[in-house]
Amino acid sequence: MIVAEPKPIKELLEMVQDFNKILVIGCKGCVTVCNVGGLKEVGILASTLKIARKKDGREIEVGEHVLERQCDPEYIDEVKDIIDDYDAVISLACGVGPQFLSERYPSARIFPGVNTKFMGGAVEHGVWSERCAGCGQCVIHYFGGLCPIARCSKSLMNGPCGGSSHGKCEISDDVDCIWDIIVRKMMAQGRLDELVKFRPPKSWTTARDGGPRKMVREELVI
């Protein structure tokens, strides 16, 4: 899923300081799963905004709404009758949500309420970790089913580098050296011959380097 974290309340208050009627829109997709933009978080943010502004002596009206998904035009349409009642909108979806809202409602002032972090998952309660860089050409089968593009700090295709230490990456003891894990796994599987095979430079044409991406599947186009 897409993992996000809340923006600091101070930053959000500064963003919307000129507005007095705000609509907070959540999303039932990934941000609900990672506890940052679902029904509960929409309610908490609305209350926090109200309390903070009351303290400042500048009370505001905050509306709350949660969409099934913010990455789908049909659900974005759902707020068409209420969005004009507000001066500003804070979207608690990943970076896709506020953009879909901005595109659908050109006159609305849309603000991002979260920082979108990465594609990954929860490795334990309250801890998320990156797994995919969205390079557009998956190659993890060469690496024991693990992705060095997303998980090696240098995206090495022929690792590990000399900075691997006690299973950790040179950038931080908090970061596992994925190449250490790849090497140990593949050696245990008796796949040393694959590990020593030279992996040529990757084509980044399918990644973000190839420009903003768009996918068309003709069989699904109506």
């Binding site: 240098k154 590990p160 580098c161 000399g162 900075g163 691997s164 040393l192 980044w204």
Partner: protein
Amino acid sequence: MSEYKAGSNLEKVLKAGHFAFTGECGPPQGANIELLKEKAGHLKGCVDAVNVTDNQTAVVRMSSWAASLVLLQEGLEPNFQMVCRDRNRLAIQSDILGVYTHGIRNMLCLSGDHQKFGDHPESKNVFDIDSMQLINTVKTMRDDGKFLNGKDIDVPPRLFIGAASNPFAEPFDFRVYRLAKKIEAGADFVQTQCIYNMDRFREFMKRAVDMGLHEKCYLLAGVTPMKSVGMARYMAKQVPGMEVPESLIKRLKGAGKGKVAEEGIKFAIEQIHEFEEMEGVAGVHLMAIEWEHRVPEIAERAGVLPRPQV
């Protein structure tokens, strides 16, 4: 066709069977050409080639190719270092053509320290290709006369290709295979990480020799003399992939006040002597970090002077 791949002094010295002795020079953090010339002056006549570092530890310095050209003008042979952190494949290939055009004949191919360590941690990194692919790129350009896109090069660059190997980084069992992979990718010579744990290095070399790697590539053992106990402790704890045995720290401490640097040099000289005898080691790469002025003394005392003229 020349009998040499690139015809650098380093290649000639190694091919003639001499025990190579190379040095290192970090370009200045500024345009201080006088400082660079001063550092180069210390190394002149003491080493076969000088590795010119490329924004080492991700700290901005004079570019390695520019500093390499200054060394060339000063009569030293540079070993132009390039990291993959700061350049994509377009910049990499054009810089290779550029340095060759100006007379550089050795190139060390590295991935590069992550910018998180450096003085511009906010920067974006590149890592379009990795060190293995960089080695292979230089080889492809030289031997096949082709760019990475398969197109012909109008006068291919002929460089003696260097790579790095860290015998001490984990997973230890894989390190010798990674060295083999680098040789397969095109490395002509390899510089190792600074060696302090001699037991582990002997074991690493034994494996390399058993695999016949020393017959396919020149292996230069990395030596960095310890200047102080603090430096030894820092290397042991703070430098990733570096192994400093407690026994060495104890030995340095035991030397007493004012004598630690001398003890560090003594240890380095002992190492050089052992490497001269060690099967598969073709030379020593001396990385006297900000200690270039001590290189003549170390070279003299290690008995590696005068350097061979090939």
